[in-house]
């Protein structure tokens, strides 16, 4: 099997690797880089537990090859917290009880981040549509929706505070 040298910018820092062509991005993150916050829940791109951002766009990292991410930027749950401060999405999930077992949570949060980066004032329907590729078995989604709306509101407040 052919091997490739790849370099991926993961959470803002360059990460090099020697990988087989077939290595999945999720395995590169979890096993080569030991970033185990990105989870695996299915093999068919349905559950979304492995969602990461590839150049800012949410992808299911269980069906992306590591070599496809060569030269690109990947963001994972481990990169959300900045300077010891939780990201508004993390804070929203905490405040609104948007997680129970925690297994779908990283993927759910990455998808939510992508939504908020393009739509700062989503409606409940927008949130539901955005997270429809991420399955949760514990929460019934009610508090996840609240968590994302909470995050949107606090991100808007932060932005307003910075502007004034």
């Amino acid at each position: 099997m052919a091997r490739h040298t790849i370099e991926i910018n993961v959470n803002g820092a360059p990460s090099k690797g020697e990988v087989e062509s077939r290595l999945l991005l999720v395995h590169f993150l979890r096993e080569n880089l030991r970033l185990t916050g990105t989870h695996i829940g299915c093999d068919t791109t349905h559950c979304g537990a492995c969602t990461v951002l590839l150049d800012g766009v949410p992808v299911k990292s269980c069906t992306v090859l590591a070599v496809q991410a060569d030269g690109r930027a990947v963001d994972t749950v481990e990169g959300l917290e900045k300077d010891g401060k939780l990201h508004p999405v993390q804070e929203g999930f905490f405040q609104e009880h948007g997680l129970q077992c925690g297994y779908c949570t990283p993927g759910m949060m990455m998808t939510s981040c992508a939504l908020l980066s393009t739509n700062g004032s989503p409606t409940e329907a927008d949130v539901r549509r955005a997270i429809s590729g991420n399955l949760c078995r514990c929460t019934g989604y009610v508090n996840i929706v609240k968590a994302v709306l909470h995050a949107a509101a606090s991100a808007r407040e932060q932005k307003a505070a910075k502007a004034s």
Binding site: E31, T36, D43, Q100, C101, G102, C104, V142
Partner: protein
């Protein structure tokens, strides 16, 4: 609604929506699930599975697999037979294969395992194992399995001449037949509750690590019951030198359980055997298709029910006959004396004068199981039967289903109520919950809206479910698993600085025990919940317990926590009396401190007392401040609720849209309202799922349909409605702090509310019953047949 907390928000005892202590790690991606564990030198395992549902194994050729780079070993039934590990007991005292030596019994059954240096090599190896099969006749229909002349599946059992596993019955058959014969009206219906799968987002897995020098096996495993697993390993593998004190089972963070992580699966046993033989850690994590196709399923109950009543709607008797398809082994996880679980709760919330229920368990060529799907041992099946039959009775009598329920509810003043099938319901106020749900949803206005819509040809339905749960197994005189009584435990240590560590025999899989158990201790001792560290899931440190399933954690381990704290308080009182130089009788307890009667300025806080317990304890008293409690509940608890569902049906597509769903739950006293609501939201979603979407079926050759998320439709945020929840509070009279358990009520109560709503929407067309899942296809066919399709 919640009662006012006794403690301050800083202490965070019962009734406070304390934010979860487990969240900081999960939010940062720092949880520790089984697949996150990576040990030095760890090997990986993959499994070869059968494409046939029933076949003789003629030959397994491992030679090509062993040539794959990185592959170290191929394990077959013959390998395990050398160690007498090729069969294992199920939790129901049946037997199942770990790996087959002669034949396979269901599609996706484990046939061989490949051990390799990484997971890709293991998968390559598994693909290279060649197996020759000789197909055998397949039995998929449990009714055909019981017919004379059906192929006998369990030929491994000497003298077995049919496919019946058990016959179980309860109640008075003759009296019930007589009561039904004398009834003014009897409704009868066949109801099928299909085979479904819990599909927790984390699949099952294990890292088995055998240390040859110390002779110690450490197992990191997705298990809801680590202590029971340790004992099972010791019993199954004691003869190969695994002794219980040398077995440590660790259940790390668990990504959802719902009953699917109670059983012992063959993959676990193979990984343990491989680690013991090779002397290196071995990891096995199943993929989603393996999870859906081979792990224990739930339900698969073929029910025939008859409910009788007088003309005025008074119920006169209930008869239920059930065929339970268990697959090729009875691998349910029921208490030993209950082969059909707690199905005898089937008289529900109603005053039923006489009843009879029987269940026959049957072998077929399907995966073994019969576990719960977020429910307390066959309670969902029972509730679905009685709540559907109650609506059918209302339809037959042309009575409003709410009115019929109100008429038959067990009256509030008759609790504790002894049901005709033998349970003592601890407490309840059923009319209050239904009334509240009707008020919230605006029941009368909805009925008017429905009547108007019907005139216009629009399809709208309102469905009610007034369920009674039965949880918290259980009292030791009746409840055991493999002989181990179903108590649960807490070991509480208060440290010199007044902080505490509490360990429990259960294991959270998302329920938030680290928070709620700390709140129980905070409530009892006044030590802030923030300063109570809760630990579970490590058999080397936690006291023995039977684990978390069947909504039993709060009723059993939570109770043990409160009792252990009260034992600590009793000792604290003696120390306080000594330090304050008064008699114990002169002390009064308020949250967090003992003070002298009549002189409240003379007091000692629990923190002062804890310090004294290690620095200034009375002579003759043992130092320290700790207690252990093994709690044996005197009875089960009986949470209840009333749910009302409103649906609209698309006449063009047959699609059912849940417009509103109001859930009024009563789980007794509440520890953390935020967490209780979260549990109910999740439970409702796992009630919606089988009601409208989820089903695993088989074709006549035993090929599975619904074996991946392509076909097994777990609801997304798009299908799931915005749940509306409220509460009534009727404390359990026998539980130490009046709680009842809540994790599964909603899964049990929701499906019949949804099914009743759909049938209600179509009732004027002559529809009386639809089996779940109520798919657009099923509804569209009915609409077409009735000439109502658009």
């Amino acid at each position: 609604m919640a009662s006012t907390p006794r403690t301050s928000p800083e202490v965070g005892g019962m009734g406070h929506s304390v934010k979860r202590k487990e969240d900081p790690r999960f939010l940062r991606g720092k949880g520790n699930y089984v697949d996150d564990i990576q040990l030095p030198g760890m090997l990986h395992m993959d499994i070869v599975r059968s494409p046939y549902a029933h076949a003789k194994i003629l030959k397994i050729d491992s030679s090509a697999a062993l040539k794959v780079p990185g592959v170290l070993a191929v394990i077959t039934g013959q390998t395990l037979e050398q160690y007498k590990l090729h069969w294992m007991p199920t939790l129901m005292s049946d037997t199942q294969m770990v790996l087959p030596t002669e034949k396979v019994m269901y599609q996706a059954q484990e046939v061989a395992a490949v051990i390799a240096t990484d997971r890709y090599a293991a998968a390559d190896g598994a693909a290279a194992v060649e197996v020759d099969y000789d197909p055998l006749p397949v039995v998929v229909d449990p009714f055909k399995a019981l017919e004379p002349g059906a192929p006998v599946l369990r030929t491994d059992k000497p003298g077995k001449t049919d496919n019946r596993i058990f016959h179980w019955e309860v109640g008075d058959r003759a009296a019930t037949d007589k009561a039904l014969a004398a009834s003014d009206v009897v409704v009868e219906q066949k109801i099928y509750l299909p085979r479904i799968h819990v599909a927790s987002i984390e699949t099952c897995g294990i890292v088995a690590d055998f240390d040859r020098i110390r002779g110690k096996l450490t197992v990191y495993m997705t298990t809801q019951a680590p202590h029971a697993i340790r004992t099972v390993i010791a019993l199954v593998a004691g003869h190969v030198g695994l002794s219980e004190e040398k077995i440590r089972v660790v259940s790390p963070d668990i990504g959802g359980g719902f009953g699917g992580k109670v059983p012992v699966y063959p993959g676990y046993v193979i990984a343990i055997a491989a680690s013991v033989v090779i002397g290196k850690p071995v990891k096995w994590v199943e993929d989603r298709m393996e999870n859906l196709q081979a792990d224990s399923f739930a339900r698969d109950y073929h029910i025939t029910a008859a409910l009788g009543a007088k003309k005025d709607g008074t119920m006169t008797g209930l008869r239920i006959k059930t065929i339970a398809d268990h697959g090729y082994a009875d691998a349910a996880a029921n208490p030993s004396k209950f082969p059909a679980g707690l199905f005898s709760i089937c008289t529900g919330s109603y005053k039923m004068p006489v009843a009879f229920a029987e269940v026959d368990g049957v072998y077929t060529n399907k995966p073994p199981g019969g576990i719960a799907y977020r429910c307390s041992f066959r309670v969902t099946e029972a509730v679905h039967a009685i709540e559907r039959m109650t609506d059918m009775l209302a339809q037959e009598l042309k009575m409003d289903p709410a009115q019929l329920r109100m008429k038959n509810f067990i009256p509030e003043n008759e609790f504790p109520y002894k049901s005709v099938l033998g349970w003592e319901y601890d407490s309840g106020n059923y009319p209050a919950a239904l009334k509240k749900a009707m008020d919230i949803v605006g029941y009368d206005a909805l009925r008017k809206e429905q009547a108007e819509k019907r005139k216009k040809g629009e399809l709208m339905g309102i469905g009610i479910s007034s369920f009674t749960e039965i949880v918290g197994a259980g009292p030791s005189k009746q409840f055991d698993i493999l002989g181990i009584k179903m108590f649960d435990s807490c070991e509480l240590r208060v440290h010199p600085t007044g902080k505490a560590t509490a360990r429990f025999g259960t294991k959270s899989q998302g329920q938030g025990h680290e928070t709620t158990y700390a709140q129980i201790i905070a409530e009892e001792l006044g030590i802030p919940a923030a300063h109570v560290e809760v630990e579970e899931g490590d058999t080397d440190t936690a006291p023995y317990g039977l684990g978390t399933y069947a909504s039993r954690s709060t009723p059993t381990a939570g109770a043990a926590g409160a009792i252990a704290a009260r034992k600590v308080r009793d000792k604290a009182k003696k120390i306080a009396a000594y330090v304050l130089e008064v008699s114990e009788d002169d002390l009064v307890w308020e949250v967090g401190k003992f003070s002298v009667k009549g002189a409240p300025q003379k007091s000692k806080t629990i923190q002062d007392i804890a310090f004294a317990a290690y620095t200034n304890h009375p002579q003759g008293m043992e130092a320290g401040l700790e207690a252990v409690d093994y709690y044996d509940p005197p009875n089960l608890t009986f949470p209840f609720g009333s749910y009302i569902c409103v649906v609209d049906i698309d006449r063009g597509t047959g699609e059912v849209k849940v417009r509103r769903f109001v859930a009024v739950d009563d789980c007794g006293n509440i520890i953390n309202p935020m967490i209780v609501d979260g549990q109910i939201h999740g439970g409702l979603s796992m009630g919606l799922a089988p009601a409208l979407y989820e089903e695993i079926t088989y074709d006549e050759d035993g090929n599975v349909h619904g074996g991946s998320f392509m076909d097994y439709l777990v609801p997304t945020a798009m299908e799931t409605p915005k749940w509306e929840t409220d509460k009534t509070i009727t404390p359990s009279p026998h539980h130490p702090f009046g709680a009842k358990g809540v994790g599964e009520s909603a899964t049990v109560g929701a499906p019949p509310a949804i099914a009743n709503a759909v049938v209600d929407a179509l009732a004027h067309l002559g529809v009386k019953h639809i089996d779940i899942p109520i798919t657009p296809e099923k509804v569209w066919k009915i609409l077409k047949e009735k000439g109502a399709a658009e």
